[in-house]
Assembly symmetry: C2
Homo-oligomer: 386 residues x 2
Amino acid sequence: MTVTGPKGFRAAGVAAGIKASGALDLALVVNDGPEQAAAGVFTRNVIKAAPVLWSQEVLRHQRLRAVVLNSGGANAATGPGGFQDTHATAEKVAKVLDTGAVEVAVCSTGLIGERLPMDAVLSGVDTAAEALADTPEAGVAAATAVMTTDTKPKHTYKTHAGGWGIGGMAKGAGMLAPNLATMLSVVTTDASIEPDALDAALRAATRVTFDRLDVDGGTSTNDTVLLLASGASGIAPKLDDFTELLTAVCLDLVYQLRADSEGATKDVDIVVRGAASEQDAINVGRTVAEDNLVKTALFGSDPNWGRVAMALGRAQAEIDPETVSITINGVTLFAHGTTAADRSAADLSGRAIEILIDLGVGTSTATIYSTDLSHGYVEENSAYSS
Amino acid sequence: MTVTGPKGFRAAGVAAGIKASGALDLALVVNDGPEQAAAGVFTRNVIKAAPVLWSQEVLRHQRLRAVVLNSGGANAATGPGGFQDTHATAEKVAKVLDTGAVEVAVCSTGLIGERLPMDAVLSGVDTAAEALADTPEAGVAAATAVMTTDTKPKHTYKTHAGGWGIGGMAKGAGMLAPNLATMLSVVTTDASIEPDALDAALRAATRVTFDRLDVDGGTSTNDTVLLLASGASGIAPKLDDFTELLTAVCLDLVYQLRADSEGATKDVDIVVRGAASEQDAINVGRTVAEDNLVKTALFGSDPNWGRVAMALGRAQAEIDPETVSITINGVTLFAHGTTAADRSAADLSGRAIEILIDLGVGTSTATIYSTDLSHGYVEENSAYSS
């Protein structure tokens, strides 16, 4: 199940003709209420795509009736004309739903620097509006329509014993990095939640999930996570309960994004413990996650802790070479400044790899979700523009 | 010509048996004076190899009689035993040259976390001492003996009309990054220069050369650049003249390191102009240089300025999307927030690529020397431990 799991939501995914391939390329997610509270988090890249600028603006009202998403073009670095295209798309959706454009968020993904074929986009909105349904199939179609180099749609649905649930969809395969993986995600809930609480929950959840996915260090111009609450369950959960389930939904999507990221052959958890601060733990985890020598060693199933030591030693963090330990898939290979076990003792032949770094100087922790660097990554990103 | 170009220096490169392959693996560079002023710069990685700790210590005296270098093992993360190995190597060199160990610097390169075969190292010092010569061949042998995944020795010699010169050798193929590329370099001169001036010149030269080479973001545990002055020309040049020629020597070595770095198929200059500060320019240049999506696009000869825009937009720097322009191989592709020309107008089919980024907010500049990211890089770094 997906964004149509919670009550009060309809979705659609259609082929609007934006992609030359004829694949699904336009999605619509509609909140039928009774409530329309919404929150969003966006890329921190200073070069923001037109739909990001638009959606940030409309979210000031903390209310959304619908989200329209397209693949086949990022509408980034497209100047005032590109912004007008986003505005026209929101106006079109507002018209077919009989609401105001200010209640419509827009997300785009694809190549940077190209204008969208607006005829296709606008007629696609009509097609999508007709296809709207509250079925699982409609939710999957929406998740499919936002795919770029993704090989499969990503969606989830989790319910709470209290009688409400959270659904989500996401796309993203490359340019996945700190401060929101490069991706679009729409999360829906039928819980009844005030906008400010919704915003707080979304920030808390993304901080430890999407913000800690780091495949290639890139931060796209289009990253967007939107959370829409319909209140259709009639239940107002405790904020802690809601944040907990929301975090689980986001983490589920993060795992799916990682598993399907460009060329990845390993799912790598970099767990940092004993840091002087959480920021130190994040800095160490990201530096190791983004190090190409570490990543290529993991692709080769080589527990090359020397490269991990090199990478963490250049991170912005309080580090004492004598207190650091490095444990890979359960085997401590480096401790007290020197070799602790023969590297061959660590088995990296499987897909799941855990690199546990204990800095031994404090009590803070963080986990970064990463991948290896494979021939597939180079092939996908050198042979095709994206 | 190489480190034996300037008067007063002898060198040797021998096969000591440290490498199982039987290739040259131990080098000795000796300053016969009459002066022995020396300066050094070292890795900023907090995990420093034993020879770095040793050489930093002995350089407090600003005087070196010799440098001994080995490939086949980095002697990093080897604990107190590894430090004793470095000390013993310096003592051995001191004995054969009839000087003190405090006048002998040590450099090592190779796999992290393995102890050196000390019998081979110590007997290799004897062999090298016997082979010492002031010939070009001896200099090339020394440059060859420090190679790891390098495919060719790197050396240079430049002379000043004033009657003195500067020679240099370097090694480095991966883990090449900010704050000294991962490499060892020995630079020699027969100019007569006071140690403090020598130190100032070396820091000024490396700051804009070795410090701006960024192949893969790695910063090794062993990076070392040593500068030895014999005074054998009898000439004391102006410091500005010396720094200028020294910078040219270092840049020549940087170009050689870049051209021979692991898997590189492109020589990429990232020139940043119009920055609010030099640090901003460096941050932007490095962020773009280390971005895997940019690097793989360059491998594919694709002038994908959208990825450059994405990368610079996440750099720590003052950036205004409206004033940034991106020019690739002479063609301005992005300006005033949108496309400036069709990307096909930029020809990236050759090996040399210049990405010129004008931030348009200030007057500071910096150039980062980088490469692409190829299948060769992934192959070399996943198939073999290094």
